[in-house]
């Protein structure tokens, strides 16, 4: 594409089917303890 460059291939709608296993880290347990940041967390299934 000439005008639009797409940065990533992951699409959230594709995680509906196989997601939700709950093995991932609790948001607050990583570093923050004062804010909720999930965008930076990893999926344990990967």
């Amino acid at each position: 594409m000439e005008h639009i460059k797409t940065l990533n291939t992951k699409r959230l709608q594709n995680t509906v089917k196989e997601g939700g296993c709950g093995e991932c880290q609790t948001s607050c347990q990583s570093a923050c303890k004062t804010s909720c940041t999930v965008g930076n967390q990893s999926c344990e299934q990967k």
Binding site: G20, T26, S27, Q29, C36, G39, C43
Partner: protein
């Protein structure tokens, strides 16, 4: 729904519901803005009107690119997740993480401490006994269902003031892992005062992550993190933190600071820590009552946005050099990040995550400790106040009106329940300053990814 922003020379478009990130030229940026506002046909007409210098064939070309991304599920994707998240949050949950308040006492007297120098509004200094901690680990194992990975943070107060119990609890945890098919991930949060070689060695062997509290520049650190009698602490903790970070190969730790109204120019503190050699840095906004003189205010937002932008610009300059570093709040995983359930169902406090006091009481998270309305039960008898747990269970982005239409909901999961409660009196409220800062951080995080990709290209 799309969210558009310009940052450090990049035009970025987030397709909110699919998570697709696009970088576009100026004309396409405007086209997409009209498209979101009034749909395809009108957007085309408006573009012809306002961009007469652009040929019709170019506009048609852009329109066709947009159409193809819509088809592909990467632009203007619908939010069809609500019923699924409602079912998901209604499921029986298991406890997967505990914050163990191994001590309610501290050797520092940090002025912004939500734990009130470790006492947590109780006026009592207490140490957790081995028996209470052991019972907490048993409670976790018994309530974790089939989940394998269990997280336990040793928190305080200052946990190194009760170090023997920390060591004994790690040993106990390891001794029961196998028989229950569990894997404990222990972490430690410390102010560093009592850190020594023996503790470092143990932490490097057993702790999946270590959080080291330091606010940055010496004068800023010492202003807010003095000893109880007022003596400065920077020179005591800094050499120990440097040594620990190196001994962990600059990985699996965070040097973590808090910024307040006293250092609105906090990007200088981040850069100070980076220049001291730290590679994993987190400097975060203070959580304070509006009446505290160091609390962040609405009027500080423009300055704080500038700081985040300038930090992002500096990080862009350092990308790929040996001066590069990670800033926790700018970290974002665009390819391997969490599923939509994790992103929309809230932080897990009060359901998957609980805090345990030195005497074994359970709270929804460390920030609620001391507010007895939120005491859920104890580690011997389990959760008794199920109505509070249910409230937390249903605290997700669809339960918060302001989150429903916010682009950031897939990155912040609805924000911190404790902040919401402290500022609005309800865990379903929104702490506006926190939301605005979060949105800015997400934009900067994505801009950094865009910059890295453009350099690779």
């Amino acid at each position: 729904m799309i969210h558009q922003f310009k940052n450090n020379g990049y035009n970025v478009v987030i397709d909110v519901n699919s998570g697709a990130i696009h970088v576009v030229d100026d004309v396409t940026y405007d086209f997409l803005s009209y498209w979101q506002e009034s749909g395809k046909e009108q957007a085309f007409a408006k573009m012809k009107e306002t961009h007469s210098q652009v040929s019709e064939s170019e506009l048609l070309e852009i329109q066709s690119e947009i159409d193809s991304l819509i088809q592909d599920g990467s632009l203007f994707t619908e939010d069809n997740y609500e019923p699924k998240i409602k079912d998901f949050t209604a499921r029986p949950t298991v406890v997967k993480a505990l914050c163990l308040h191994i001590t309610h006492d501290c050797n520092l007297a940090c002025k912004y401490c939500f734990a009130e120098e470790g006492e947590y509004h109780t006026g009592k200094r207490e140490l957790m006994s081995y028996e209470v901690g052991k019972q907490a680990l048993d409670f976790l194992v018994a309530n974790s269902g089939s989940r394998v990975n269990l997280e336990v943070d040793f928190f305080g107060g200052e946990p190194l003031m009760n170090w023997q119990v920390v060591k004994d609890l790690v040993a106990y945890g390891r001794s029961i892992e196998k028989q229950h098919n569990k894997n404990f991930r222990f972490t430690l949060t410390t102010n560093g005062v009592l850190l020594n070689d023996e503790i470092q060695e143990f932490a490097n062997k057993e702790m999946a992550n270590v959080v080291l509290s330091c606010d940055g520049r010496p004068e800023i650190h010492d202003l807010m993190r003095p000893f109880r009698k007022g003596a400065p602490s920077y020179d005591i903790v800094m050499p120990k933190f440097k040594k620990l970070a190196e001994s962990r190969n600059q990985d699996k730790y965070y040097i973590r600071g808090t910024f307040t109204r006293n250092n609105l120019d906090f990007s200088k503190d981040v850069i100070h820590l980076a220049n001291e050699g730290f590679k994993q840095i987190s400097v975060e906004p203070v959580v304070a009552q509006e009446t505290d003189d160091y609390a962040l205010r609405e009027e500080d937002l423009p300055k704080l946005f500038e700081e985040y932008d300038s930090l992002a610009a500096e990080m862009m300059r350092r990308q790929g050099t040996d001066k590069d570093f990670n800033f926790f709040h700018f970290m974002i995983d665009l390819e391997g990040g969490p599923c939509v359930y994790k992103r929309l169902s809230g932080c897990g406090s009060g359901t998957e995550y609980m805090a345990v006091t030195p005497t074994g009481e359970l709270y929804p998270c460390h920030q609620f400790v001391g507010n007895t309305d939120f005491c859920l039960g104890d580690v011997w008898n389990g959760v008794k106040k199920t109505e509070v747990v249910n409230e937390f269970k249903h605290c997700n982005v669809y339960a918060k009106e302001e989150c429903r239409n916010c682009f950031a909901r897939f990155y912040c999961s609805g924000g911190c329940a404790a902040n919401a409660f402290n500022f609005t009196g309800s865990i379903l409220g929104n702490y506006h300053v926190g939301c605005e800062l979060q949105k800015k951080r997400i934009e900067c995080a994505i801009a950094l990814k865009v910059h890295a990709a453009s350099k690779d290209a």
